[in-house]
Symmetry: C3
Subunit: 344 residues, 3 copies
């Protein structure tokens, strides 16, 4: 064993691991508790790989992972690219936003073309909510949603969950007060987090200017619940939201919100909702600070808050690579195949 390529060591997630049942990852709402647990445990194994000097295993050797983004992104795209390369996949990047592939071509044609070009796993980001669902109907391989419109960003929600479980004492978020602060209305990050955090038993608070809570406030108040899912509180009272919080996640404020009249000014947003040390003092002393990035420091979050040890924003990024490795691995069915082999 000692002269073996360390990259060839199997990825072990425990003998009692449940089976993974999904061909695609479109949102977190379909994941059962044991499946989310499997993602978390597989991501643990991937973090072990990331800690090696050569963070590379042959699990997806020769597989074609195509990353096609209709919206500009670096953070998420690179995270998927690194995750896929760490698993030895061949990565093809397509910047559809600036690409001729989509010139007058329907989404379905593009998906079929990308498949015919050899894509076996398709990571996509699209400005239209639901686009990955349409893609999944026409793609024979595996679709991973890297963000669609205001709808969902499942890998972000899973890496957020992983980071909370990793950093909260006891490793559970059941009963923990988690605050998402900012432009909830336009945030796919918030939407996916609502599902996974309430499913995990968090006491979830959504806080921001009332114009950026529209639609959500209908379900607001302690008594209301997301249809068919967990319960959460919607409020514009930032002090109430932050009081005794275990986790505070600030969202990026987009300048476009000003143009559309939903926000009077960045300055006013910062004055009323910016996450400062003062405001954070209302939370628990060791409350985690999170942000999906990229940050507008000095707008939705103060640099002094970012500098805190318990600001785990870079942990989120690193965990994002591990969680995406886990998801690529699980979706590719490699785990299932290895399980079968182990049983034989």
């Amino acid at each position: 064993m000692s002269d073996r390529d360390p990259g060839a060591e199997p990825i072990v997630v425990g003998a009692d691991a449940p089976a993974w049942r999904h061909r695609h990852l479109l949102d977190v709402d379909v994941l059962a508790a044991d499946e989310i647990d499997l993602v978390m445990r597989t991501a643990d194994a991937m973090k072990g790989i990331l800690a090696r000097p050569i963070a590379k295993v042959p699990a997806l050797r020769g597989r074609n992972v195509t990353i096609i983004f209709w919206e500009a992104s670096t953070r998420t795209r690179v995270s998927f690219e690194v995750a896929a390369k760490n698993l030895s996949a061949d990565v093809v990047n397509i910047a559809a936003s600036t690409s001729s592939v989509t010139k007058g071509e329907s989404l379905v044609d593009t998906i079929r073309t990308v498949q015919a070009l050899g894509a076996q796993m398709l990571v996509m980001r699209h400005g239209t909510s639901g686009a990955p669902y349409l893609a999944a109907e026409h793609f024979d391989g595996h679709v991973l949603n890297g963000g669609d419109g205001w709808h969902a960003h499942p890998t972000q929600a899973l890496l957020d969950l992983y980071t909370m479980r990793e950093r909260l004492p006891g490793g559970s978020i059941a009963g923990r007060k988690v605050v998402i602060l900012g432009d909830i209305l336009h945030s796919r990050v918030a939407r996916s987090n609502i599902w996974s955090l309430t499913a995990a038993g968090a006491d979830l608070w959504l806080c921001g200017p009332s114009t950026l809570l529209r639609g959500l406030d209908r379900w607001g108040g302690r008594a209301a619940g997301f249809p068919g899912h967990g319960r959460f509180t919607v409020t514009s009272d930032v002090d109430a939201a932050l009081r005794d919080a275990d986790v505070v996640m600030a969202l990026r404020i987009q300048k476009e919100r000003m143009d559309s009249g939903l926000l009077p000014s960045l300055r006013e947003y910062t004055a009323r909702f910016g996450l400062t040390l003062d405001r954070l003092a209302a939370a628990k002393p060791d409350a985690l600070v999170m942000h999906p990035g990229p940050m507008n420091e000095g707008v939705e979050i103060d640099p002094a808050v970012v500098a805190l040890d318990r600001a785990v924003i870079e942990d989120q990024v690193t965990n994002g690579v591990a969680v995406r490795m886990a998801l690529l691995y699980l979706l590719a069915g490699v785990h299932g195949a290895e399980g079968a082999h182990d049983a034989a």
Copy 2:
């Protein structure tokens, strides 16, 4: 043999395969019948590789394949990238359209620079007809033309030929009626196909608005022939063209044609030349439908036609990867080297 890396299996194209005699692939007009046959047989072997779970062989391991496109493209660029990666080459992508490499720099300087940077095989697309010929004079390795101006698109012609041979009963296009429908004038796809299809003995018809046949109609009529090559028919009579056709290839209509006054409107083009089920009914019942993509569905081709089983547009894309693998492999001289080794 059983514990051998399946990726290391040799690529077999038959003991009686002719030699490949070209350093570059600039157009199809210089390919003799036995050479085209060699490309087709090599592409067969590559399709076998594409059918493996891990579609990867080490044939070009460590070779530098540089893809430099002065025109935006995704389909062709990704096809070459996947083809090269399937052969284990190292791929460098350069988007010259948005790149500083070409800022005030002559084409020859750019080619020499790219070579000095390590390019061994150069895949290029350029807006100027003939550019790859100039490049080939100054490049010590192998140049593959990925499309130059209105002039040539040889890999497209070869993948079209491959797809017809694969799908037509009997596997030959000799005597088959093949119709190219649309903007022939500005189409490098049509120009390269004229050579390879007439050489293969097709009864080739070029059909479109007379403004988009200009220059070709000089050679038009059943009696005329392309200088030094096969014969074809040029017509604006879409019904005559489609009658009893074995293959109908629709070309993409560019909006720029409207701006230049060559077409009155997209709507009128669609009304007179759009490939609909109605029009296609004049062709043979099992006539193949092809399109080089990207399609403007509802303009030059109706979605109901695209949905037919005999619309082989995705086959074209997949065969494009196989044909480009074959060409990279043949040009790299790997085949010749292996042959010598086998003989020793």
Copy 3:
């Protein structure tokens, strides 16, 4: 040994090689003479690798080299990419100029994010002088400066030095007259070359229009020296500069200089400072001609000069790959580790 993967052969730079002491490469000013010599000798070994049919060694297998450029560039970016791939590193390209990673995000946040994404070696180009120094303070791995503002371009200076040593008889530039001709004021290439060339004992002349020598002419004249470093001559007298020169390096003239009023016109620049055969006749008969590229042929350099055998512009490009391989290799500490292993 004969059946060994040739890619696995060790990179040998001599048993008496000095140790490499730097974690980052930010500029050449901190490199001692023996360190520059080590870079040159390591680059020699890398040129040996480039001469192999498969120019690939496993030295950096599985290492993540992230190339992030805030300014558009192809030449330097591709050179680093090829260098890293030749060493079997995994390369991630980020075009920060067109990327969302930097939307309102501070440089430090971007650097931390890129690190959290897995970057182990970071190659960066930035429009702000000093940016790589800031990055190095926040990055746990290795930072390589690919050009910052008008400040420094250390890999260019080292590849220029390598090319001169390779092509000058005797292999030394001590006492050689080296002329840098053009827009010295805005040139990071010139600035880094001033350090390395004067340190190597060259008789360095900086020549250009007086508006493009501003600040440097303060130190001008044969008597002046760069603070704490070698001596050089600053002049607008192109005939005096070229007289008996051993090396003439022309710099690219940017059109922006005209807009800012520093140059009356490109035509006048060419008339007064363009490197023509006539002007070059004043230099030594075998004087080397260099240019960092991309060239404006017919502006700062005449095509007839570029066509000379002693114009070593493509050598510079190829040597750039070898020098960057050497630097990646040295910075990664692979050399040190191998040395330790050899001693054991």
